[in-house]
Subunit: 202 residues, 2 copies
């Protein structure tokens, strides 16, 4: 048996990732466009957790269904933890992966190697129509490289090398990435709590 | 009597500002191109003070003259204090004021008003051929506005409003700006120390 849950994102890369990650838990993810096309408000919170909760709450409000959402980004040492919550609009407009990545590399051109440490962070939130909510965070430590490599994934994957790895996250297979990724960690922690909250009370 | 000091910058806006600020102290500023055209190395330090000292040391090495340098930038609350030392190359390449400013406004488009707090920071350094060095910092607190205003100054001046003011620093006259600016504060603190260090010992 599967449980229908709305995923509050229009990012196709995230939808594909989360469908893979949540399938084993019996969660059937519905895209926003499947249930209630609405224009999501801007993400204005200073934290990943705040934005993830905000997006999930908004989806519940519009659909009446249980909703999950994530807010993710890359936090770079040399940029005091930015792009952070602005990762998806780092180049000034929403969702232009290539422009965001090119800008980041340009900003870091003169930054010494030892300050290219970075981490992928994901906050995963679930909100139920009855008002229950939970949010968890996953982190993948690593470092940036100056030359993009690989074609899997999306966003900053081509320039991010996880700690202890040689390949970028865009050079990992989907399965390899899910096992270690910030989003994999966060949603595997979230899923059991979501399913428990959704199961009929005894 | 004036003392000849090299100013380690190629930024024409900074040269004009610092000539105004230092003239009363009897300092005659020479531009880099006047004394020894060399290609300044990249600014790779994580702090304004580190970069200012590095630029002044480099100028002494190339010219044998006393040198002053500054490193300045804008630190924005919503960006964890960035652009910071990357202010001049925020859009990915050095010195494109308009691109830097447009990018910053794009990044902050969805950021609420209360996190548009910002400060201009300037580290001013002096280095003498005998190895003496001093570095001081000046700060101008304020906030960003979303619509550029004014044509004076340079860099982020059109979107920065000092605390207690209504006008941007690009709407202030040169004299008004010098009186309160981060650069004015820093170089007025630096100048007496520089002159004392340069004066013949008794």
């Amino acid at each position: 048996m599967t449980t229908r849950v709305v995923l509050a994102t229009r990012n196709a890369g995230k939808v594909a990732e989360l469908q893979r990650i949540l399938a084993p838990y019996g969660v059937e993810l519905l895209g926003l466009d499947d249930v209630a096309p609405y224009e999501p408000g801007p993400e204005t919170e200073p934290t990943f957790a705040g934005n993830a909760l905000g997006k999930a709450r908004e989806a519940v409000r519009h659909t009446g269904l249980p909703a999950v959402a994530d807010d993710s980004g890359v936090a770079v040492d040399a940029l005091n933890g930015m792009p952070g919550v602005l990762s998806a609009r780092w180049a000034g407009r929403q969702g232009d992966d290539r422009a965001n990545l090119d800008l980041l590399l340009g900003q870091l051109a003169d930054v010494p190697e030892e300050r290219l440490g970075a981490r992928f962070v994901c906050a995963a939130a679930a909100v139920l129509p009855d008002g229950q909510q939970v949010v968890v965070e996953g982190v993948l430590e690593g470092r940036l490289v100056r030359e993009p490599r690989g074609t899997n994934g999306f966003g900053y994957d081509p320039v991010f090398v996880p700690a202890g790895q040689q390949r970028t996250t865009a050079e990992l297979s989907a399965q390899e990435k899910d096992e270690i990724s910030h989003r994999g960690q966060a949603f595997r922690a979230l899923a059991p709590q979501l399913m428990a909250a959704l199961s009929p009370k005894g």
